[in-house]
Assembly symmetry: C2
Homo-oligomer: 211 residues x 2
């Protein structure tokens, strides 16, 4: 299995999931600016949208979008218990993956990281996102994880919350989110994935906000 990633992009979640599963995978870096891989290949020829993560499965087929990639990894390594298998539990996982993807990743952080966005966008976006952050904070206030144990939704949420630093989003009014982020940061799979990608990110700083 190959994972196309950019350092500290949304694809960090898939790396965390693979580490949790102890899975063998090849990690192929995509430069978010030039859209080139280390061997000089044009990533746009592989994924026309240029977004990461992208998973190349063992049969050669390609899978994109965090929600799909993360559930695929969880299904592929069931012994790691990265996703509930009962009907309602799986539905709940999908609910959180979708919430993170639409309300946080896309609506909040991708907009804040878009340097070409019209003036006023930042204030407007933060205002619109406030109820979403409050909702998440309330949910996390008496829970260690989004569901009753660590799942791929936590990997995704962690990767997205990391962008709060670069985008100067404060969680001062969301102490449960802040505490959750701090807890996850020291989880071995998360710490390892973050440190490795931070190293790569610093080697080539750029605007990283791919899917």
């Amino acid at each position: 299995m190959d994972l196309y990633f950019s350092p500290l992009a949304g694809s960090l979640a898939a790396r965390i999931a693979l580490y949790e599963a102890g899975a063998e995978a090849r990690f192929i870096e995509v430069d978010p600016n030039t859209k080139r891989t280390p061997d000089g290949s044009n990533y746009a020829a592989i994924n026309p949208l240029g977004l990461v993560p992208l998973l190349r499965l063992d049969d050669g087929s390609l899978l994109s979008e965090n929600a799909a990639v993360l559930q695929y990894i969880a299904n592929r390594f069931p012994e790691s218990n990265l996703a509930p298998t009962d009907e309602l539990g799986r539905a709940r996982l999908q609910q959180w993956l979708s919430f993170i993807g639409t309300e946080l990743h896309q609506r909040l952080f991708c907009v804040l990281r878009d340097e070409a966005a019209p003036e006023g966008t930042r204030t407007h976006t933060l205002m619109k996102s406030e109820p979403r952050l409050t909702y998440l904070n309330d949910h996390l206030s008496d829970r260690e994880f989004l569901l009753d144990h660590f799942t791929v939704a936590d990997a995704y949420l962690y990767a997205v919350l990391n962008w709060s630093v670069a985008t100067r989003v404060s969680f001062s009014r969301c102490p449960a989110i802040k505490e959750y982020h701090r807890r996850l940061r020291i989880r071995p799979s998360v710490a390892r994935a973050f440190q490795e990608e931070l190293f790569l990110y610093r080697a080539k700083p750029a605007a990283h906000c791919a899917a």
Copy 2:
């Protein structure tokens, strides 16, 4: 099963899926402005974010987010074949549900329907969305549906593409999307769901863009 919906919002997709499945369900309208249901209840007390769709399952638990709601309906009525059951097919379905939710619903149409968005947002958003629409158009150019048969992802895509009228998004450079939308419109479950919600929408016109 109860479906909380607003006329012609994203929840139209769940209604289509329920009609496809021939499922018994109670449809509870949420006024997108007042957030009240017909009996005067405050919907925010049920769903703090005020978004639709929301499914109340037979055990009373609540499920939100289109990707989760639609897959739940598909799983609950397997004989309607609204979702692939093989691993790769299901992953592909999740990929499209996520693409529609993040790139089209959230990034394109919700932004265009936001009347309070800063000046310049429309032009910027349309420019950023162009590669996404081209990608979708290319995918649909030789296919009847997103996958090899009608699935809940088509129900979702149809519901989202409907907003192109209100937001004046032209598909003149995306003939395959235009043709796909036209084909789906005459599918019996789709035509029935659309006509019923159009009737309700016209009875109470408002800005409808909920999840």
